[in-house]
């Protein structure tokens, strides 16, 4: 972050080109949209965990403990596909000049790529969606939709 940005000052003419307001607005919206997607994904995973626990509520205590441990692994999805993308998009939206924004968008693109690769290749995502506990998660669909929105905003 530049000093001008830190002081929330507009750069003087000639020092840096201010970013286009419409683009900024799109980035803010994309940032919020990703936070919503993340929240929804979190709710779906929580619902699945609750369903599994409820189904096994009468099981032997040792098995219940084992299941609890296993379910913690589901958190890996949202620990990887986390809020970094939203943070990066918001930083890009509030960048003081075009150069700073472009630099931040580069980071956002890297995060996006990491997320897409994860969602596409990580078996854990498919595992969640294929659960036989009657909980329709469609986690992959949800995350792909969210990433599509982010990809459009990044350009």
């Amino acid at each position: 972050m530049s000093l001008l940005q830190a002081l929330k000052l507009t750069p003087p003419p000639g020092l840096g080109k201010p970013p286009a307001p419409a683009k900024n607005q799109a980035l803010v919206q994309a940032s919020e949209a990703w936070r919503r997607t993340h929240g929804q994904a979190n709710e779906r995973i929580a619902a699945l965990k609750a369903a599994v626990k409820s189904h096994c509520a009468d099981a032997h205590p040792e098995l219940r403990q084992e299941i609890e441990k296993g379910l913690v692994k589901l958190d890996e999805v949202l620990d990887t596909v986390d809020h970094r993308l939203a943070d990066s998009l918001a930083t890009a939206a509030h960048a003081g000049d075009e150069k700073a924004r472009k630099a931040e968008l580069k980071s956002a693109k890297a995060i996006l790529t990491e997320y897409i690769n994860y969602v596409k290749g990580e078996q854990l995502v498919a595992h969640v969606d294929q659960n036989p506990f009657d909980v329709k998660t469609d986690l992959r669909g949800l995350l792909v939709a969210g990433l599509t929105t982010a990809a459009k905003a990044i350009g």
Binding site: E62, L63, G121, Q123, P132, F133, A145, T148, T149
Partner: protein, 645 residues
């Protein structure tokens, strides 16, 4: 008595769970036991169809793509999703434009006498009823312009519905007549405009009224959300206060599950039944129209004077018939297309295994019936008449009915939940026996044993009628147990599958709060609201002065937030932590915290102060002065416990 299916066991093992730990013979002990294969799966794929995915960490070494364009292969799924959304939006856009054209046609065809008596608000109210999809146009336009920005230029305005209504009314110069009738009462004219504008842009579930005192009141009512309440109660126990019976497994459903029939939609038959009923209405509307026409022609022939009422009556009947007939034709096209597609898929499924002769025969039969239906459809398309529609519905009913029976025959009867409930009921009867209620217990035991025997028949014959009778009998037996125990010292508690929308069965404070109801009130300077929430449903009302109307975008946000947070309130009934709160104040604090975003949203609502702002925001011209603003009191509270922000 939870039982893990083979698929569930494999799935858990996929997460590294060692499912062999613990003995648990009475519950999940069925795992790997010889009897496990006979367990009825309640959900998910069958064991032999299920391959638990092997979990591998992705190779992240190649992900450092900073500065490089996104890999086209990786982006494929992203692009596919975007293309799907765009396609859906384009299809909806065509449908929305057509609806707007229908709205225009409806207003243009409105009989003169009816038009003279109407107002913008009454017309908009009728339009929202007749064309419910148009009622959500404003929200759809806003959402689509965000989701599919490339369609922005093609989308109608979010005020398109009001624009169409206003333009069509003006083209008939009806507004001039209304103005004359209203005389100098410009408040009435402006009230009418504002009412109609709100109706045009607010979601279809929101009703709008403006009182004589100039207070705008918006109301959203909804049903209580059904929430699964966590179990954990013992089945039956006795203590100093007497025996306790817990009947928590209230889901008695016996179902036929058929994975192979995913493509066949059992609701198709229902759709055709609806069309059949609609066709009967169209026939009756046509008869009414013809009668009026005959009367009119007869009078012309006789040289009798034709009154305006008679002429208007014919116009009205003609418009009603035309509209219903047009809608019916559209329904036939849509449902026929879906039917042809789904039945073709079902035929292919039935014929796929040549060795299964019974299935192949059913497939051949269905194909013949489908062809017969297609023949009737062709005749209908060549000469669209209501009678031709009835011929199509009869043919469609034949093929869908047969497929329903075939699907049930080849399905698997799932009785796990029923069995669980039956076991619980038998345990309760045992407690009754031990308590000395021998006569009633013996009667109920006989019924329960009879149910066990008949259940085996259902599993073998897939006789759904018998299954329904068994469900009813078990429900009756459980009801008898409850009645018997209400007489004595023993208490009967519900639990496991209770619902906040039904009887309150538990004793947690949250259940009591939802049963008694809670009123949440926000009393701002510009806008006030009252949310009345109970297990009978909810009513969210907003009030503000017409003098300083609230922007529709703010109201859309407010209603959306209210809907979300009220549902969150209902969800609290399913939260173990919340259920453990015994202190009423602590619970009320929690309830208020959940509703806080609604209050925040209400505080953020933007109002319009100047006449020019109001005209620009709603898109209509204002005659005379706009009324003065003022404070509107919160709408009525329905419950004794009020939580004020």
């Amino acid at each position: 008595m939870a039982t893990l299916t083979e698929a569930q066991r494999k799935w858990l093992e996929g997460l590294g769970v060692d499912t062999a730990v613990g003995t648990a013979p009475a519950t999940v002990g069925a795992l790997g036991a010889p009897g496990a294969s006979s367990a009825q799966p309640s959900a998910g794929p069958a064991a032999d169809e299920y391959d638990a995915p092997v979990l591998e960490k992705p190779n992240l070494s190649n992900l450092n793509l900073v500065g490089r364009p996104l890999d086209p292969a990786i982006m494929k799924s992203v692009e596919e999703q975007a293309a799907k959304e765009k396609k859906e939006a384009e299809e909806k856009l065509v449908a929305m434009n057509k609806t707007l054209a229908d709205v225009k046609a409806y207003i243009a065809a409105m009989p003169e006498a009816q038009m003279q008596k109407a107002s913008y608000a009454t017309i908009m109210s009728e339009v929202r009823k007749r064309f419910p999809e148009a009622a959500n146009l404003s929200q759809w336009v806003k959402a689509t312009s965000r989701k599919v920005p490339e369609l922005k230029g093609k989308l109608p305005s979010s005020k398109a519905l009001m624009d169409v209504v206003e333009a069509t009314v003006r083209s008939r110069s009806a507004d001039i007549g209304w103005g004359v009738a209203a005389g100098k009462d410009l408040k009435a004219v402006n009230t009418d405009r504002l009412l109609a504008a709100y109706m045009a842009e607010l979601p279809s579930g929101v009703s709008v009224k403006i009182g004589g005192d100039g207070v705008v009141q918006l109301t959203l009512e909804g049903a209580a959300l059904s929430v699964q309440i966590p179990g954990g109660e013992v089945d039956a126990k006795a203590d100093k206060g007497g025996a306790k019976i817990v009947l928590k497994n209230d889901d008695l459903n016996i179902q036929v599950s058929n994975e192979g029939w995913k493509d066949f939609d059992p609701e198709l038959r229902g759709e055709w039944k609806k069309i059949d009923a609609e066709a009967s209405i169209v026939i009756s509307l046509k008869a009414n129209r013809d009668k009026a026409k005959l009367e009119l022609e007869q009078k012309k022939k006789d040289g009798t004077a034709i009154t305006a009422d008679l002429s208007a009556d014919f116009d009205k009947r003609e418009a009603e018939f035309n509209l219903a007939w047009k809608k019916l034709q559209e329904q036939v096209t849509v449902v026929a297309k879906a039917t042809e597609k789904k039945i073709s898929a079902s035929v292919a499924y039935l014929k796929k295994d040549a060795k299964d002769k019974e299935s192949v025969k059913a497939g051949v039969d269905a194909e013949a019936d489908l062809q017969a239906m297609q023949g009737k459809l062709k005749a209908y398309y060549a000469n669209p008449t209501v009678n031709a529609v009835l011929e199509v519905t009869a043919a469609a009913d034949k093929v869908t009915a047969k497929l329903e029976i075939t699907a049930a025959k080849s399905g698997v009867v799932v009785t796990a939940k029923f069995e669980k409930s039956l076991d619980e009921t038998k345990a309760a009867i045992e407690v009754m026996l031990n308590e000395g209620k021998t006569q009633i217990a013996a009667e109920l035991k006989k019924k329960a044993d009879d149910l066990s025997a008949k259940l085996k028949v259902v599993q073998k014959t897939k006789d759904l009628k018998l299954a329904f009778e068994l469900e009813k009998t078990l429900k009756d037996v459980r009801g008898s147990i409850a009645v018997e125990y209400k007489k004595g010292k023993t208490t009967v508690k519900g639990g496991g599958s209770g619902s906040t929308s039904g009887e309150v069965t538990g004793t947690a404070q949250i259940d009591i709060a939802l049963k008694d109801g809670r009123t949440f009130t926000g009393d701002g300077d510009k806008l006030s609201f009252t949310a009345n929430v109970s297990n009978k449903g909810y009513k969210f009302e907003v009030a503000f002065s017409m003098g300083e109307p609230v922007e529709t975008a703010s109201l859309q946000d407010l209603f959306k937030d209210a809907d979300t947070q009220i549902k969150e309130l209902y969800k609290l009934a399913g939260d173990k932590g919340i259920r453990s709160i015994a202190d009423a104040k602590a619970l009320n604090d929690k309830l208020q915290a959940v509703m806080k975003p609604v209050n925040d949203s209400a505080k953020k609502a933007k109002t319009l102060k100047k006449k020019s702002e109001i005209a620009a925001s709603f898109g209509f011209s204002i005659q005379g002065d706009w009324p003065e603003g003022g404070k509107a009191s919160p709408p009525a509270a329905m419950f004794g416990v009020k939580l004020t922000f």
